[in-house]
Amino acid sequence: MHTARHGLSRRDALKLAGAAGLAGIITVYPGRRVFAAADQSLNLAVERTRITIDGETSGAISIGGSIPAPTLRWREGQEVVIHVTNRLDEGTSIHWHGLLLQGIMDGAPGFNGFVPIGPGETYTYRFKLRQAGTYWYHSHSASQEQEGMYGAIVIEPAGRDPVRADRDYVVLLSDHTPENPENVLRKLKVSEGYYNNNKRTLVDFFRDAQRDGLGATINDRLAWGEMRMDATDLADVTGYQFLVNGKGPRDNWTAVYNPGERVRLRIINGSAMSIFDVRIPGLPMTVVSADGQNVVPVKVDEFRFGVGETYDVIVMPTEDNPFTFFAESIDRTGYARGTLATREGMEGEIPERRPRANLTMADMAMAPGMDHGSMAGMDHGNMPGMDHSNMPGMEQGSMAGMDHGSMPGMDHGSMEGMDHSNMPGMDHSAMPGMKQDATGSKEQAMGWGDAGTPPGAKALSYADLKALSKTTDLREPTQEIEVQLTGMMARYIWTINGQKFEEGTPIRVAYGDRVRIRFVNTTMMAHPMHLHGMFVELENGQTDRMPKKHVVLVPPGQATTVQLTANEPGEWPFHCHLLYHMASGMMTRFIVEPRTASL
């Protein structure tokens, strides 16, 4: 596993990085510092700074002097030592997102004995790299991550990399707000809809009434009103600038290629709150890795990108054209943009913006007390966007509290990451609100899962992911844990199993056990659920090649199941990776307990 292979096979980046590493120095490569590996030791200082995005300057916090923080290029099998010096006047921490390591090195204050790094203090992390792939690192203290404390980690495999590429770029997406994050949280608590500038209005009512009929529109509004929910609640925070490697859309981060080259993009969603739809118009992407773990290559045109997730894709531009890397936030308030070009300074076209989705009653399917049969205003016949009758295996009568595990005909494989666009019987064109206008673009997307993918285009779904190597632990899980994703939107309180972090009961599993976790999302928002310390394996229909993930994006109103082998002892944070959800309670402890001597 730990062959010290210095004969780097790739061109460009890796040669340079390797050479720099051998010399034990820091070098500069495509616009950012690369710390390469031979002495495997580096210093990172955390300090307040200013960041200028598209000409606007605001306050931020940097790790290692830049935003994003320097990309750490390491090699599997190495032992790395990182000295983190805190130059802030508050405690800080760095969490190595996705890395398998000893608990205290995980860097989450309050877990595994790790305490915040105090002002002026230096903490030394030391761990052995037990894996390869694309990961990232960020602060796990307060809202520092939102202020710029994030960077990429690239770990080269000890052996041959099954993914061949001529160029290798990190594409780190993030969202930056000039506002103080604490103030953002206060506003959400005081007035939850503060940042939503796309609420439904009287103007929308008349437009919808004209399109869908007055009765249907009234019923729809009554149904939402009765629940005191907002169909336009896709993102809690707006006012963001969306960044690619720290650069705004106008700053236009550019990756250079020669026509015909295979370009590997290591795409990381390092946002605090923003889920993206990612595409490169005109350039299909072959997904080769998810959350750092290799998958059987799958060719897609776009993918929905949960906070904290990573995807490595290969693109092969053959022409001398600039291509636009385009990541729209799902609430469509903005986009991150970069360019793939044959030289710096070229600009691709900004593609047409996708319509914003309204949530539908289907996104409420797991809400407690959701009695589909008797719900007032729940007229399935004319509810816009609601067509449960055609969903395979979805039985209306027993939706609430239904037991997925035992339900016959309930195929998890095709449920998870349910791809609405391909669902048989989902005739979008017949749905109110889904009419195509003359230009062919949709005026309104319906339902959280509707990314506005054009007909014929392929969007990645979790069901497409198939691990490159076989699942090693094929035991049937002995413990099943239900994790209800819960919250009180109106109060901006987010919880797991109805409990905030401070008041919650930890999840306990025995070391070595195979465990199934079933996420049930009772809320109207998607939650990217992140477990520290271990990968989970998605039950996505694969039998012996379940993809490994460190973040699982659980769509609203849906259930997603994963398995894991509890082989990393410790007390691991288990939380929603939306920063303000975590800060308002959506976190728990996942404790892997050593077996007692008597057992």
Partner: protein
């Protein structure tokens, strides 16, 4: 006899206030204990909303009217503050009411509240015990319902509801309704038993930013039953219509 009742009432109110402050204190202490396990403190937040600060033009004497609310606290426990009042443009303050309440989350959409109300005007100044609830009813109606018992043992109640109708993202029409009920005649305050009055308002505001919105509107008040008779006996109109213009802002 009268004095004894009064002091008894005062004592009860005091005891209530002490219970309130104690329970807030212990809840906070419990939270602090839990915080030690983690780096983030549950935030103690606060907000102050000047919901109405307006000039009322009417057939008669114009007035300045206000309605303010605010709170300090966490998710579950809050100290809640309400104030409202009215002052003729060229005169002394006629009505000024203050409430200090302990507010506790009882469900996703509702807070139960208990505390003290003190009316500085009209004279004589009156102190009340307050119990009530505040929250969002289905269909997004903001509702406050309060039961009052005065230092003289008089019972009364108030129900307020308001709704924000978004015409556009920034232009918002807000209907408001309020009813006051009394269990008995209170001569000093010129009210009779039963329904005392009903108020209806309609305000159109423009949110320049979320925190600041000028508005215009109409406000209609009608005294009812014996309260209306008393008003007429004093040579006042039982009903009152005014055009209003003001600002709504919060921090």
């Amino acid at each position: 006899m009268r004095t004894t009742t009064k002091s008894l009432q005062r004592a009860t109110l005091m005891a209530g206030a002490i219970v309130v402050s104690l329970s807030v204190g212990s809840a906070r202490a419990a939270e602090e204990h839990q915080v030690e396990q983690f780096h983030e403190e549950p935030p103690i937040l606060g907000t102050l909303l000047i919901d109405r600060f307006e000039h009322r033009w009417r057939d008669g004497e114009n007035s300045i009217d206000w309605d303010v609310q605010g709170w300090v606290g966490g998710d579950t426990n809050k100290i809640w503050f309400n104030a409202e009042g009215s002052k003729p443009v060229d005169g002394e303050v006629e009505e000024a009411e203050f409430q200090l309440l302990y507010s506790r989350m009882t469900s996703e959409f509702w807070d139960a509240q208990i505390g003290i109300r003190h009316d500085v005007r009209p004279q004589p100044q009156t102190t009340y015990g307050v119990i009530g609830f505040q929250g969002v009813a289905p269909y997004f109606f903001d509702v406050t319902a309060q039961l009052f018992v005065s230092e003289d043992g008089d019972f009364s109640a108030r129900l307020e509801a308001e709704y924000d109708l978004l015409i556009t993202q920034k232009l918002i029409l807000q209907p408001v309704a309020e009813v006051n009920v009394s269990a008995q005649r209170v001569e000093e305050l010129h009210i009779g038993p039963g329904f005392n009055d009903i108020e209806l308002g309609l305000r159109l505001r423009y949110e320049v930013v979320r925190e600041f919105a000028p508005y215009i509107g109409v406000h209609w008040e009608r005294k009812l039953g014996e309260t209306a008779d008393i008003a007429r006996d004093h040579g006042e109109d039982a009903s009152d219509v005014s055009f209003v213009a003001g600002v709504r802002f919060w921090f």
